[in-house]
């Protein structure tokens, strides 16, 4: 029963997120500023590279999964309610993460050999 409720809630969130993504276009530059202002950088690094405190965010999750994790984290990440990060801001942050370039091939970096 409890699991069903959770799944139901997740589906509602995913649907709402998908709807929000359809109607909201994220701005990567705004998202970059929000990534700092909302404290995302503190665990995930300024470019989402990840750290011991929080996983790498590149490549970016699909938007519905991103918002689901933001609102109802499955790990010890603190929750970001719509009061803290509204749907437009979530879309902006997601756009920032999507705008990050692919990292270089480790084999191309001499120091990593």
């Amino acid at each position: 029963m409890k699991i069903n409720l959770l799944l139901g809630a997740a589906l509602v969130l995913f649907s709402a997120a998908a709807f929000a993504q359809d109607s909201l276009k994220g701005n990567a530059q705004t998202g970059k500023d929000l990534f700092v202002a909302k404290g995302c950088y503190s665990c995930h690094g300024f470019v989402g590279q990840g750290s011991r405190e929080g996983p790498r965010l590149m490549p970016a999750l699909p938007y519905p999964a991103f918002v689901a994790q933001l609102r109802t984290p499955r790990t010890i990440m603190p929750p970001y309610t719509a009061t803290l990060v509204n749907d437009q801001q979530a879309a902006d942050i997601h756009a920032y993460l999507e705008s990050q370039p692919k990292p270089p091939d480790p084999k191309s970096i001499k120091l990593l050999q």
Binding site: G45, G48, S51, P104, I109, L111, L112
Partner: protein, 643 residues
């Protein structure tokens, strides 16, 4: 000298103070006037005996109690004493410098008692023996206390010496009362292994030797001896000294697990299908890693390194830190060597509202064999004891001292067929190992060219300079996302020494300097990456590095914040859906940004930075390493990603 009256120093001081200098001179003048015709002169008359005041108070002494204390200290083969000078041990300080010729121990001047103790902490883990730290009575010991707590929690041996004026009637007014106490050791008794406040010279000698012996016998820890100022400063006459007995250091062995229990443990290890070895504060000597390699290769078992010491080579095929949780989840037997926190290997308290406890993903039939000294040194007040955890077999004994016996017990249990089966397990484990390094390398590429500079980039720029050298990285790596352990080839006992023990901020800069002091003259490069908050807590370490020409490279991981607290405050704001921008109030170290290169230069240390372009970092490290190779300290300020 033996004919001089045996007036105690404090009696002299009390008498002199009561009468005052004018009265003393007046008395001398009167005595002189009676002995010779009066004459007019502006020069104060010379007393008939230059060494004794007319009231019999001696003015000079040939040998003092503190000289004898130096004799005692020299029997302990202590190379250095780190100290900030202070009145309560002025007698001993002068004896160390002149009578002891400032060698063994050599006086290392520090600008804070916390630095003196933390230096000794880092030194002990590289030199594998203690040095002394000498701290002022009351106020100096209070300054030193946090560093002593770190060293206690890290089970590092330090001989801490302090001073006191026990005879209250001999204390000069005001300050000497503030710097004296009835039982000053009480303030650190909860985190020292032993302490003493001896009341005679013989007792002082025995206390120092006993303290040293206890400090270096596992479980090792700081010890404290408070030496009375009178005992230090009073004249020591030949007839008194003839009665003294110089204590001889006893030869103590470390506690070792009992043979019967180790036989049982060996049976369990050989029978297990998926044993995992967890080593945390295991490596006490240079022999430790090789012994653990021997056991792991006998059992073909993965090792998870808790990294409180150099326990196991980072790139060994059985180092499975790269799949720590998976390995522990599959384990049917866990051998925990000095784990410190046994409970935390199978349980967790989540940082969520209500702090829920949870059992980690572990096999229902998991058996635990625990070897360690945790239960052999316990104090009730502080939480160093950690949470109670059950085990199937706990063996009280120093894990490293026990290891040779355990290895032999395992060899006796291994039949040829069982050894062959375990070897097959080893092949599977070996095949996994290369992927850990590959994963870490891939992770490092994200943010590789970012500014602020990524910690992975900083670590690898430094590694490029160290990998062809003998080196020690003496500072904590958790705030560096553990990249040194994941990407560097850490395989020598002196490469890594673990962390602070109690996470008391201020450990890293002086402990690294202590490690560098131990490395001085060995050709090893000591390179420390230290947070900006850490550096600011004990930045006076730089002056000591320059003053004593201790070669060390400091790289400041400058994220311009107490970043752990940024994350803590953010978590609270997130839970409460409140402003996330105010979390920087009281946590950020900016406005103004600290200029660490200028700070270093102000204390005579070569400084570079701030460096915020990753491409500038490699050349800066090369220049700084050249300085270090010349025998001098250097610092680079790197504007960094948070973690």
């Amino acid at each position: 000298m033996s004919k001089q009256p045996k007036l105690k120093r404090r009696q002299f001081l009390a008498g002199a103070l009561a009468a005052g200098p004018v009265a003393s001179i007046a008395a001398a003048t009167k005595a002189n006037a009676q002995a010779a015709p009066a004459r007019v002169t502006s020069v104060p008359p010379v007393p008939p005996n230059e060494n004794v005041l007319p009231d019999g108070t001696p003015l000079t002494e040939a040998r003092s109690g503190s000289d004898y204390i130096v004799d005692v200290i020299k029997t302990l083969n202590i190379e250095y004493v780190a100290s900030l000078p202070a009145a309560t041990f002025r007698g001993l300080q002068e004896s160390l410098l002149n009578y002891g010729n400032n060698t063994k121990p050599e006086f290392i001047m520090c600008l804070h008692e916390e630095i003196a103790v933390a230096m000794a902490h880092g030194y002990a883990k590289v030199a594998r023996k203690p040095m002394a730290a000498m701290v002022h009575g009351t106020v100096g010991l209070q300054h030193a206390s946090m560093a002593m707590y770190n060293a206690y929690a890290d089970r590092a041996p330090i001989l801490v010496i302090s001073g006191n004026i026990q005879n209250s009637s001999a204390r000069r007014p005001n300050v000497e009362w503030n710097h004296a106490a009835v039982d000053q050791n009480a303030m650190v008794r909860d985190f020292t292994k032993w302490d003493a406040q001896p009341t005679s010279l013989q007792a002082s000698a025995e206390a120092l030797v006993q303290a040293y012996d206890l400090a270096v016998t596992a479980p090792m820890a700081p010890v404290l001896v408070t030496l009375d100022a009178d005992i230090q400063e009073d004249p020591l006459h030949k007839e008194e000294e003839a009665k003294l007995v110089l204590p001889k250091l006893r030869r103590s062995r470390h506690p070792q697990g009992d043979a019967e229990s180790l036989h049982e443990a060996a049976k369990m290890l050989v029978a297990a299908e998926n044993p995992v070895i967890y080593a945390n504060r295991y490596g006490r000597t240079e022999k430790a890693p090789a012994l653990l390699v021997q056991l792991a290769e006998l059992l073909h078992a993965p090792v998870i390194d808790g990294r409180s010491r150099m326990n196991f080579p980072s790139r060994h095929k059985y180092n499975h830190n790269g799949r720590r949780e998976q390995a522990l989840a599959q384990a049917d037997l866990l051998l925990a060597l000095e784990p410190v926190d046994l409970w935390g290997l199978t349980n967790d308290v989540q940082d969520l509202i209500g702090r829920p406890n949870r059992r980690l993903n572990r096999q229902a039939n998991l058996k635990i064999v625990h070897i360690g000294t945790e239960g052999l040194l316990l104090k009730a007040n502080y939480g160093d004891v950690q949470r109670y955890a059950p085990s199937d077999l706990t063996i009280a004994g120093d894990a490293e001292a026990t290891m040779p016996v355990l290895i032999e017990a395992v060899k006796r249990e291994l039949t040829p067929s069982r050894a062959a089966a375990l070897a097959q397990r080893g092949e599977k484990l070996s095949a996994m190992a290369p992927r850990f390094l590959e994963q870490a390398r891939t992770e490092a590429t994200y943010g590789w060219d970012a500014s602020p500079i990524s910690v992975a980039r900083t670590c690898m720029e430094l590694w490029d300079a160290l990998k062809g050298e003998e080196w020690t990285m003496p500072t904590e790596t958790v705030f560096l996302s553990d990249y040194p352990h994941r990407l560097w080839d850490i395989n020598k006992p002196h490469n890594w020494i673990g962390g602070s023990g109690a996470q008391g901020v201020g450990y890293n800069a002086p402990a690294a300097l202590g490690a560098a002091l131990a490395n001085k003259g060995t050709g090893r490069i000591t390179a420390a990456i230290i947070g900006d908050g850490e550096m600011m807590m004990t930045n006076q370490s730089l002056w000591t590095a320059a003053h004593h020409q201790i070669p060390i490279l400091y790289i400041v991981h400058n994220n311009r914040a107490y970043h752990m607290e940024v994350m803590h405050t953010l978590r609270m704001a997130d839970r409460r859906s409140r402003d996330t921008q105010r979390i920087h109030i009281g946590t950020d170290i900016s406005k103004p940004n600290i200029d660490f290169a200028t700070l270093a230069k102000s204390m005579g240390v070569y400084g570079q930075g701030p460096i915020d372009s990753p491409n500038d970092l490699g050349p800066a490290i090369k220049r700084a390493i050249d300085v270090v190779k010349r025998g001098e300290p250097a610092l680079i300020d790197v504007v960094s990603q948070p973690r």
